[in-house]
């Protein structure tokens, strides 16, 4: 008995009873669609995460200093000098002061945004591109000049019509002069990475109302020297603080790893739940195949009388079960892919339908047909031809 022949017969009998076949497939359709939607959404979520982390710079190392209890406090100048000394692993260093909820005002336009205080190399370290004007320089930082560079969203909101360069804005009532505008990085929307202002860290004290600088950003010389750079920073800080809990050195890659680990676990749990529905689908197929074997007892008897061996009968029913569930798998893939895009759009996630998930879902659905079809198929193949022929 040729495989192709058996496959054609299977298709015929599936098309012969469409409603029943559809209901049989439904479990597999739902299971496969659920797996694909979940995998796509989690994929989309983590690739969105990665790209937003990467836009911050993969070489970025962040350092937080909490050491108020100790007798020594690291001065920004000391860390800057350290950065200069270790040019072999570090490309740049800048204090990083973050002040949230600052009101920026120009005439009648105002908005609430985040102000970052940094050194003249802050934009290199954080991967900001200056679109118009320039970034503030070393002298402006040292002289505590109240100048600032606007994110693209902030610039567009505060200065919808005129060129912002050279204009004054008020941050919480303090006057700052705009020297540059950054290129849009994150779509230029509210609350995005473009909704911000950068100023010299020496000039943001009136906004933050605290004197010291408690965090820094470093950029490693390249991707491969990130670990060496982090070790060097830790060594340096260990010289200042007796307690290693007084500071923390971390890297985007570490954070990303943690997030990926989390989403990986999440995927496993969700896919596990979806897999249960595939299992239920498989049991549905087994059930219908058993009914089908009983209904076709006479046909099995006739086939056996014409010389069908056990293997021939088994193969026929196995192929039928595999075809039903593979067809269910294909429909499930279509539903899942469509659903992923739809839900992705609704949740503003870039849902990525992974070819692997599609491949695995399809193979699993064929495998389910074979596994759950085997018992009914074996039962059919063992029927006694005389009894089967006599069956009405």
């Amino acid at each position: 008995m040729k495989l192709w022949q058996a496959f054609r017969l299977a298709l015929k009998s599936i098309l012969g009873s469409k409603m029943r076949s559809f209901l049989t497939m439904l479990g597999v359709i739902i299971g496969v669609a659920a797996v694909i939607v979940l995998v796509s959404l989690v994929n989309g979520f983590s690739s969105d995460m990665s790209s937003s982390f990467e836009s911050m710079g993969t070489n970025l190392i962040q350092v937080s200093v909490f050491g108020r209890g100790g007798n020594t406090v690291v001065r920004p100048a000391a860390l800057m000098d350290f950065g200069e000394e270790r040019r072999d692993v570090l490309a740049g260093v800048s204090p990083s002061v973050t002040v949230n909820g600052v009101t920026a005002k120009v005439g009648n336009n105002n908005l609430t945004t985040t102000v970052y205080g940094g050194s003249e190399s802050f934009h290199h370290i954080r991967n900001f591109e200056v679109e118009r004007g320039g970034f503030f320089n070393y002298i402006q930082v040292e002289a505590r000049r109240k100048v600032c560079v606007l994110g693209s969203y902030t610039a567009a909101t505060l200065f919808p019509l005129e060129n912002p360069i050279g204009q004054d804005i008020r941050l919480n009532g303090n006057k700052y002069t705009v020297v540059g505008v950054l290129a849009a990085k994150d779509g230029g929307e509210e609350s995005s990475a473009d909704d911000m202002i950068v100023a010299p860290y020496t000039a943001v004290t009136p906004l933050s109302q605290q004197g010291g600088v408690s965090s820094y950003v470093f950029s490693a010389a390249d991707k491969d020297s990130v670990d060496a750079a982090m070790a060097a920073i830790e060594d340096f800080l260990a010289g200042y603080f007796a307690d290693s809990d007084s500071y923390r050195v971390f890297n985007q890659a570490n954070l990303l790893e943690n997030i990926n680990e989390l989403t990986g676990t999440l995927t496993l749990v969700l896919v596990g739940i979806a897999a249960i529905s595939l299992l239920v689908g498989g049991i549905g197929i087994m059930n219908i195949m058993l009914v089908s074997v009983t209904e076709r007892t006479k046909e099995i008897g006739v086939r056996k009388s014409l010389g069908a061996k056990r293997r021939d009968i088994r193969l026929q029913f196995l192929i039928e079960a595999a075809t039903v569930s593979a067809l269910g798998g294909l429909i499930g893939i279509a539903v899942g892919a469509g659903g992923s895009v739809l839900i992705g759009n609704m949740m503003e996630l870039s849902a990525v339908v992974s070819p692997n998930a599609v491949l695995i879902a399809f193979s699993v659905s064929v495998a389910i047909g074979v596994v759950f079809g085997y018992f009914p198929a074996a039962a059919a193949s063992k029927l006694n031809p005389i009894d089967a022929l006599r069956y009405e």
């Binding site: 014409l306 010389g307 293997r311």
Partner: protein, 230 residues
């Protein structure tokens, strides 16, 4: 000898008791014979047919088919023998409803693993022999009873079997169509095919040259007849 039944018995256990469906049946048949096995229900003719058709094996005694002992073969070996040497014609035709006429006739060839071109040639020849060359693409339910029975005869013929085993082949047909089927069987016999006809009806058995009568699982008569045209 094509068929040798040597003291064949078949015993079914039913509860504590047992039923001797065949009780020491012996006969032999040569190639080219047209034999009717005649008996009332319960006479053992169905058991006899099942054993001749390699659907079943005897409890005791020996059955030689074409010199080979088939009394104690496995399921799959019996299936291979049915496939190559036996052509069944059933009372209810037993065509597979989802397959068209040509596909039904082709089925035994598929199980023997024959190449496509030869299969098609053989199917064409078998359908021509029963006069249904133009009905290959019809579905069984589009045909009359007599036509369906002719399809099942074509399906039996297609493997060039040693024996055509017909179980009440006219039982579901009106008498006129029944006669046509019987004369087709006679014609096949005159072309050299060995035919065994299982029936309870003496009138139908009249088509055969030799009558074996069964009663209570034993042979009560084995006689040569002229084999009149039905």
């Amino acid at each position: 000898m094509l068929i040798v039944f040597d003291n064949v018995s078949k015993i079914y256990k039913i509860g504590d008791g047992e039923v001797r469906a065949a009780d020491g049946i012996s006969f032999s048949a040569a190639r080219g014979e047209f034999i009717a096995i005649i008996g009332q229900s319960g006479s053992g003719k169905s058991t006899c047919m099942n054993i001749i058709g390699a659907l079943d094996t005897p409890t005791s005694g020996k059955y030689y088919l074409d010199g080979q002992d088939v009394s104690a073969l496995s399921d799959d070996k019996l299936a291979a023998i049915r496939n190559r040497t036996i052509g069944f014609v059933f009372q209810q035709y037993n065509l597979i409803a989802k397959l068209n006429v040509a596909e039904n006739v082709e089925l035994p060839l598929l199980y023997s693993g024959m190449a496509r071109a030869e299969r098609q040639e053989r199917v064409g020849a078998a359908l021509a022999k029963v006069g249904l060359s133009d009905r290959g693409r019809h579905m069984p339910n589009q045909l009359s009873g007599g036509q369906q029975q002719r399809v099942s005869i074509a399906r039996a013929l297609v493997v060039n079997p040693s024996i055509i085993l017909a179980d009440e082949p006219t039982g579901a047909l009106d008498s006129q169509t029944g006669k046509e089927v019987l004369s087709l069987l006679r014609q096949l016999n005159s072309e050299g095919n060995t035919i065994i006809l299982i029936t309870h009806d003496t009138e139908i058995a009249a088509a055969a040259q030799r009558h074996i009568r069964l009663q209570d699982g034993r042979v009560i008569a084995d006689e040569q007849r002229g084999g009149t045209a039905a």
